[in-house]
């Protein structure tokens, strides 16, 4: 069993031996970057971080993000991003790499120890830190580099209007929930006293006092906390489409109104307890749903400052990305995301277009070729002539397709809402007929009989039945790494009979690993070979270089990038080359013949000036659970399809087409969506990760994005697979089915309860207080039944 890195938790290859003695512990690391961060953290006496963090994956040394802060040398920008008072400057930065509260603690402690930092607060939910410092003793740049030291990249950040708005609404929702909760408890206490009084006898004066107390606490709950329901009901009436909001509002207001009347006339029964409990549980369900929806989505990313370098009359200048315009010449460093559509002015480079196409193998671009926004420059510094910015780029076009797809989305009608429509009408007619009948019969209690009818038919249990079960299952699944962000997911998941997978990054791990090393020169061991390659690749931004970074780099000097071929460097006065077969031919050697070439695999060669030393085979490998998951899904009778942007050969290389019912390759983002739209079956679950999957994700009935997906993919999916573990999908589907069963039981119970008591109430046989107890108990039963869903 291989050991794992003390800092980042990645497995350490056997050939690596980087150790430190920290806090009297022998610690091993996978690379020097992790060692540096861990030594820095323990050196500052913050090793508690390692004891407290939730996962063993620490943030690795990231891209150097500090140049962005140089932009703030510009006075105008500085004023925009930094709030200044006489001896205090405050900035908000968005951080990448934060995973749990230990990270937040580490950042606060570490920065807090620095000179001149007055205050720092890290918000874990939004990954935003607010930092206050004394401008005489510190600067934004020093703050940024301190964050960099412990492995977090910071970007200046200005909360946008939308974010401010959603924050305000969330605060209001919390206040409503709090008031409903506290109010409910108070009213319940009085109610229990009154129920006891009904059994044992109670002086009227005490009963009347308890009624008043209930009234006082129920009023803010009904008037303030319940407001969103009334707003929804008014909207329903305007749109002539009735949702559950309408019966809820009618039920609440009638029950409250008749209770007030009972209080005033001192006859009849009060229902303050049922009303407040009802409002609290419904609000709780809605609140949890909203939190889940906004959690883990970097919706605020667009508000972060991004820097680009441009060439202006042969002079280099750094400007904020938002100020780029068509016609500029922009300079992109290796590893940087290209922010615009444009034409390559430099000779050659290669780019990673995986965000658009899903294909991780870099694509070589030559002078005059078009480059697209959201792709990543890999090989060297390049100059680009800007053609399109912002909304006109190719990536923005994908977002627009997505919006269209969202509009076309097959609606999963929520059963409760469908029922609600007829339910409301039926209840109102029944109640008025009952009242009319008893008045006509000259019954003095006619009004109270009508109230009984309304209370009995009050859809408390009925309207709680679905949300309570959904809230419970949503929380249970979240603990298992399956985050639901839209309400209809459970119902749709339970019906799913067709799952569509993307390949790269979804079924595969989305990065290259070494699958085979063939040595032709037996004087060198496998470890030595990999160490030479690691030395050659140590400064490379090429995605392939990551596969080697876990080996100790040999001391290679004079490393040169050979564009679209590979690298060369000198070790112990010998020149080594590492690259593809064209490189080998270029230096005058012959490529060794090997059989069984696989299109999904990439073969690279290490050579010196005389001969080829070794062939390294790299491949984007499948997730370990892919095969078993697909087989298990098929066993349940679910149709499994593959839609990928890759070529047929490369998809065949690692996936067997016999696993799938449909095997579609070479799909453009638009085609993926079209294919899904053309399916006659509407119970499709789409699983994907990249920007190229976004339209398909938006268009499918239900969509699931992998945890490491692009922000846009997460934003447009109905659920996020945080665990990154495909077998969680099976758990989710079976949980959804169980949830549907519980909802059914709840609905049947609630409906039959209402249906049995209704005739009795119409007949005037049920006094209002019995109806109220019945209502409370039936609601409680529904809640208890739903808690059975907490176990997976």
């Amino acid at each position: 069993m291989s050991k794992s890195c003390f800092h980042c938790g990645d497995p350490i290859p056997a050939s690596i031996n980087i150790t430190s003695n920290l806090q009297n512990m022998h610690c091993e690391f996978c690379c020097y970057g992790c060692q540096a961060i861990a030594e820095h953290i323990c050196g500052a006496d913050l090793s508690l971080y390692y004891e407290r963090r939730e996962s063993s994956a620490g943030s690795r040394l990231t891209e150097d993000n500090t140049p962005i802060f140089e932009l703030l040398d510009n006075k105008q920008l500085y004023n925009q991003y930094v709030h200044q008072t006489e001896n205090e400057h405050v900035i908000q930065v968005s951080l990448t790499g934060i995973t749990c509260s230990a990270c937040a603690w580490l950042i606060e402690k570490h920065l807090g120890q620095q000179v001149g930092i007055k205050n720092i607060h890290v918000n874990l939910s939004s990954s935003v830190a607010t930092i206050t410092w004394d401008p005489a003793q510190a600067s934004v740049q020093t703050i940024a580099s301190e964050l960099q030291f412990i492995g977090y990249a910071a970007t200046p950040y200005l909360p946008g209007e939308q974010y401010q708005q959603s924050r305000k609404e969330k605060k209001k929702a919390i206040i409503r929930l709090g008031i409903a909760g506290v109010g409910m408890m108070q009213v319940m206490m009085s109610a229990i006293a009154m129920y006891a009084g009904d059994l044992q006898g109670m002086d009227d004066i005490y009963r009347q006092m308890l009624r008043w107390i209930s009234f006082i606490f129920a009023t803010p709950v009904v008037m303030y906390a319940g407001w969103p329901f009334y707003k929804g009901a008014v909207r329903d009436l305007k749109n002539h489409h009735f949702t559950m909001d309408l019966p809820v509002s009618i039920g609440v207001l009638l029950a409250f109104g008749s209770s007030v009347l009972a209080l005033y006339t001192q006859t009849g029964h009060v229902y303050f307890d049922s009303v407040t409990m009802f409002i609290f549980f419904l609000l709780l369900g809605r609140f949890l749903e909203t939190i889940a929806r906004t959690y883990h989505i970097g919706a605020h990313q667009q508000d972060a400052l991004a820097a680009v370098k441009i060439k202006l009359k042969n002079e280099l200048k750094t400007i904020p990305q938002q100020q780029l315009k068509a016609g500029d010449t922009v300079i992109i460093e290796p590893g940087q995301t290209i922010p615009v559509d444009g034409v390559l002015l430099s000779n050659t480079t290669s780019v990673d277009e995986s965000s658009l196409t899903g294909e991780y193998t870099p694509i070589t671009k030559r002078q005059g070729d078009r480059l697209k926004a959201q792709t990543i420059n890999i090989e060297q510094q390049i100059e680009i002539h800007v053609e399109n910015v912002g909304q006109n780029t190719h990536a923005a076009a994908i977002s627009r397709i997505t919006e269209r797809a969202l509009g076309d989305k097959p609606k999963v009608a929520i059963v409760a809402d469908k029922v609600a429509h007829y339910f409301v009408i039926a209840v109102l007619i029944t109640a008025s007929l009952t009242y009319a009948f008893w008045s006509y019969m000259g019954e003095s209690e006619a009004y109270w009989i009508m109230v009984s009818v309304l209370v009995v038919t009050c859809p408390c249990a009925l309207s709680l039945a679905t949300p309570v079960a959904l809230t419970t299952i949503t929380n249970t699944l979240k603990r298992n790494g399956f985050l639901i962000t839209r309400g209809h997911v459970i119902e749709a998941l339970a019906n799913t009979n067709h799952i569509v997978f993307d390949k790269t990054g979804t079924l595969t791990q989305g990065n290259f690993s070494i699958t085979d090393v063939t040595c032709f020169d037996l004087s060198l061991s496998k470890e030595q070979i990999l160490s030479i390659i690691s030395g050659l690749e140590q400064h490379s931004k090429h995605p392939l270089a990551n596969a080697f970074c876990s080996f100790i780099p040999a001391n290679v000097t004079q490393i040169k990038n050979l564009s679209s071929l590979g690298v060369q460097g000198i070790l112990d006065q010998n020149t080594f080359y590492f690259g593809n077969s064209s490189l080998i031919q270029n230096i005058g050697l012959s490529v060794p013949k090997c059989d069984g070439a696989n299109a999904a695999e990439l073969s690279l060669y290490l050579a010196n000036t005389q001969h080829v030393i070794a062939k390294i085979t790299l491949c984007d490998v499948l997730r370990p659970e892919t095969e078993s998951t697909i087989k298990a899904l098929k066993q349940q009778g679910i149709r499994v399809s593959l839609l990928t942007g890759d070529t047929l050969e490369s998809a065949r290389g690692i996936l067997s087409s016999s696993w799938f019912d449909d095997f579609k390759t070479n799909c453009l983002p638009d085609e993926k969506w079209q294919w899904i739209k053309e399916q006659s079956n509407h119970n499709i679950l789409m699983v994907g990760d990249g920007l190229n999957d976004v339209p398909a994700l938006a268009g499918a009935t239900t969509s699931l994005a992998m945890g490491a997906s692009s922000d846009l993919a997460k934003l447009h999916s109905d659920a996020i697979l945080l665990s990154e573990h495909l077998s969680t999908i099976i758990t989710a589907i079976s949980s959804a089915k169980r949830c549907r069963k519980v909802i059914k039981q709840n609905l049947i119970w609630a409906a039959s309860y209402n249906a049995t008591l209704l005739p009795l109430a119409i007949a005037g046989l049920i006094p209002p207080w019995v109806a109220a107890i019945g209502m409370a108990l039936s609601s409680l039963l529904v809640v208890v039944n739903a808690t059975r869903l907490t176990n997976v």
Binding site: S101, L124, I175
Partner: protein, 52 residues
């Protein structure tokens, strides 16, 4: 039993005070980060241990 006429309203006043404090806390951003505050106590504890 007459004491109830005094005690229950007093209890009510406490509830009102609690709600006011709650609203004040929400407005002061104390509920901004529901994922973190629950665990903060774990960290602070260890800190004081070290100082002792």
């Amino acid at each position: 039993m007459e004491s109830l006429f005094l005690l229950i309203p007093i209890a009510g006043i406490f509830v009102v005070i609690a709600i006011i404090i709650f609203i004040w806390a929400v407005k002061g951003d104390q509920f901004d980060d529901l994922n973190r505050e629950g665990e903060r106590i774990l960290f602070e504890d260890d800190d004081t241990d070290k100082k002792l």
